[in-house]
């Protein structure tokens, strides 16, 4: 028996590289993309799990994916469209608001799920290793299924009102991507903050409410005066929703707005990634 234990001398030149190096926390942690790629199946498993359990033991099942935006559309049409007579750029108000509600719901659901992703998976996080980035990413991806179902309804609505999409429809996937990246960018910040400060999960409903009205869902962006357009466009969802309406319903192309929105998302996303990676080193201790 060795008492105290003997240890081999520290690594000499020519020894193989360790597979894993564990070191105390650092301020700036690089993102390991190859590791994320290696864990892509786990990402798929989490998304599949969240999708499956969402509608378990319900009678209506996936219909719930359409009921929420449809219900909001009816309420908005009654109060904003008919009562307050909000202009809708020549498009029937129900279609006008529904076309915005679909990407909006994708964003809001994605943001909510990714913000809560780490706290609700605290059990797994303290028992197994996987890159923690998987959690918020799975949060923004799982609402895509609901999105697709609601999108089908949108197509029917467009047919009912006699609208044919413009050539800009090919850009639709980019706008979807922009919505996803927005919810990811904000989700990274909020989920990392929420692990330590649980206030954030309670502020989330307020943030989303406010954001809804700060986005052109119930009113068009053109309603704002010219001088405010720039500040308004700093909200990336403005670019997403105006872009959606342009691609599907032929409203004015919002080039400047989209440019600003993309820049904002890129900055938020990169900042969020770095903040998340730094805080990741402490998650299991604090969650």
């Amino acid at each position: 028996m060795t008492f105290p234990p003997t240890v081999t001398p520290l690594a000499t030149a020519g020894e193989r590289e360790p597979t894993i190096k564990i070191r105390p926390p650092k301020k700036w942690v690089p993102i390991n993309f190859s590791e994320l790629w290696h864990y892509r199946e786990l990402l798929y498993s989490f998304v599949a799990r969240d999708v499956k359990i969402r509608y378990k033991q319900t009678v209506l099942g996936f219909l719930w994916a359409i009921i929420q935006p449809l219900f909001l559309m009816v309420v908005f049409t009654l109060f904003f469209g008919n009562l307050a007579k909000v202009p809708s750029e020549g498009i029937p108000y129900p279609l006008f608001s529904f076309a915005a509600l679909i990407p909006w719901t994708l964003f809001a659901e994605g943001l909510t799920r990714s913000t809560m992703s780490m706290v609700s998976n605290a059990g797994i996080m303290t028992k197994v290793y996987f890159p923690r980035l998987i959690m918020p990413i799975s949060g923004i991806l799982s609402p895509l299924v609901d999105f697709c179902i609601a999108f089908v309804i949108l197509i029917f609505m467009m047919a009912y009102y006699g609208f044919v999409p413009t050539i800009a429809i090919v850009l639709l996937p980019l706008f979807i991507l922009l919505a996803l990246m927005t919810s990811l960018a904000v989700g990274l910040w909020l989920s990392a903050l929420n692990v330590k400060y649980r206030d954030f999960q309670y502020t989330l409903p307020f943030i989303i409410q406010l954001w809804l009205f700060a986005s052109p869902v119930v009113y068009p962006a053109s309603m704002l005066p010219e001088s405010w357009q720039f500040v308004y466009a700093l909200n990336p969802m403005v670019g997403v929703i105006e872009g959606f309406r342009w691609a599907l319903l032929g409203t004015n192309p919002p080039e400047a707005i989209i440019l600003i929105s993309v820049c904002v998302v890129v900055v938020l996303l990169i900042g969020g990634l770095f903040y998340f990676k730094r805080m990741e080193q402490y998650f299991a201790d604090v969650v």
Binding site: M1, R16, T19, I22, R23, P24, V128, Y197, D199, Y282
Partner: protein, 421 residues
């Protein structure tokens, strides 16, 4: 066992902040309030005492593990065993120190990691396997084996929330058992379910240990540790106390436990029996009549039990039992005066009862023994799970030879001869 290193740990330390304002369920409001209070605290020198707020779960831990070794990690509750595994599993970061790992790591820190009650057994196998680190194709290949091992074929498509707890742990362990990494870290997840299944679990652990994988195994089950692990690390209050052969380290551990839980026999309160007679002391002697602490294999060993009768009357029909147990809590042998025809009649109210064992027949190691005294068929005093006896190597056979460590047990005198047919 190759000479290649698998895990190299140097100067590992993990500090937690306990109590105080830093680690309470944190709200943003608290953080703001604290930072406002901070300058006031500094002015009035009301700073929190750093030393009472800090807790070093691990400190200065350094060791090497080579490929193919199966190492046990033992220690009291709170010694830092699970923290060590968590750091090696990359779940939590160390406060100081370095670890280098050569090979893929799989961690089993809990049974049922990732299981979701709403999903079926089949879906949970894929989810849990994926979380543990297996690729989908790998899980598909092992799927049938997992089902068979868990014995829940019929229920594989029922949601797991409908399973009994036994079924749940069997399925969870089955998935974990098929994890196939080069380096495996296991934290006390052994032996779940009924006896039959526990045997299966131990068997699976044995085959993993024999397979050439590197395994680190935390457990309180000394029998399992001595069975599976060739070497052991003993942790105590975050530091390594010893790192050596399992037998030596386990003995050290048990002895230290015994020292800590030493009782003063007359005052000991958790004993059974009616209480009219009480044991007041135990002494061990060798054949020369000297006071000893241990027994020696093959040498005469004498146990002396001192007693006192509360009623100060002579005692009739006294029977004394001493029963020896091994690491597995299995009964080894029992000593009793009536077995050898010794009747105790008219014993003084205060005295000692002496039991002599010629050529003590156990191999070296640490054993437990229970002892009780009965008068007229009534058990008056019974001490359970408290007494420990350490046995040292001795020349039992007179040849200077003893069985190897892998074959320790009873030592039995025997003769050999051969004949032609």
């Amino acid at each position: 066992m190759s000479d290649d290193i698998a895990i190299r740990v140097r100067g590992l330390g993990k500090k937690y902040l306990i109590g105080g304002p830093q680690v309470k369920y944190h709200t943003f409001r608290d953080a703001i309030v604290n930072s406002v209070k901070a300058p006031v605290r500094r002015l009035t020198r009301q700073g929190t005492d750093k030393s009472t707020n800090e807790f070093w779960a691990l400190k200065d831990v350094s060791f090497d593990v080579y490929q193919g070794e199966v190492i046990g990690i033992i220690g009291r509750n709170g010694a830092g065993k699970s923290t060590l595994l968590k750091i090696l599993s990359q779940i939590t970061t160390p406060t100081e120190g370095e670890v280098d790992i050569f090979g893929r790591v799989g961690s089993l820190l809990e049974v049922g990691t990732g299981f979701h009650p709403e999903l079926t057994g089949r879906e949970n196998i894929f989810l849990s396997g994926s979380i543990l680190g297996m690729q989908k194709r790998e899980i598909e290949g092992k799927f049938d084996g997992i089902i068979k091992f868990s014995e829940i074929e019929k229920f594989i498509d029922t949601p797991v929330k409908r399973y009994s707890s036994g079924m749940y742990v069997r399925l969870a362990f089955a998935v974990a058992a098929y994890l196939d990494p080069e380096i495996l870290l296991v934290d006390e997840v052994l032996a779940v379910g009924d006896i039959g299944f526990q045997e299966k679990c131990l068997g699976k652990m044995e085959s993993i240990a024999d397979s050439g994988r590197t395994v680190l195994f935390v457990s309180h089950n000394m029998a399992a540790i001595s069975n599976l692990c060739s070497k052991c690390i003993l942790l105590d209050k975050g530091k390594i106390l010893a790192y050596g052969s399992s037998e030596e380290v386990i003995n050290l551990y048990l002895n230290s436990m015994k020292k800590e839980s030493e009782i003063i026999l007359p005052e000991y309160s958790q004993r059974k029996g009616n209480g009219l007679v009480r044991f007041t002391g135990i002494k061990f002697f060798n054949s020369e009549g000297n006071d000893v602490n241990n027994a020696i294999s093959g040498k005469d060993f004498i146990i002396s039990l001192e007693y006192v009768s509360k009623e100060n009357k002579p005692l009739n029909n006294v029977m004394v039992w001493i029963t020896f147990y091994g690491l597995h809590r299995q009964l080894l042998f029992t000593l009793n005066n009536e077995l050898v025809g010794e009747k105790f009649v008219n014993l003084p109210p205060k005295g000692r009862i002496i039991c002599s064992i010629p050529q003590f027949p156990l191999s070296s190691g640490v054993y437990g023994f229970n002892f009780d005294i009965a008068v007229n068929g009534q058990i008056e005093d019974w001490i359970i799970d408290k007494a420990i006896l350490t046995v040292s190597d001795g020349d039992f056979f007179g040849t200077g030879r003893l069985p190897p460590d892998s074959h320790k047990g009873f030592l039995v005198h025997h003769n050999w001869k051969s004949e032609g047919i």
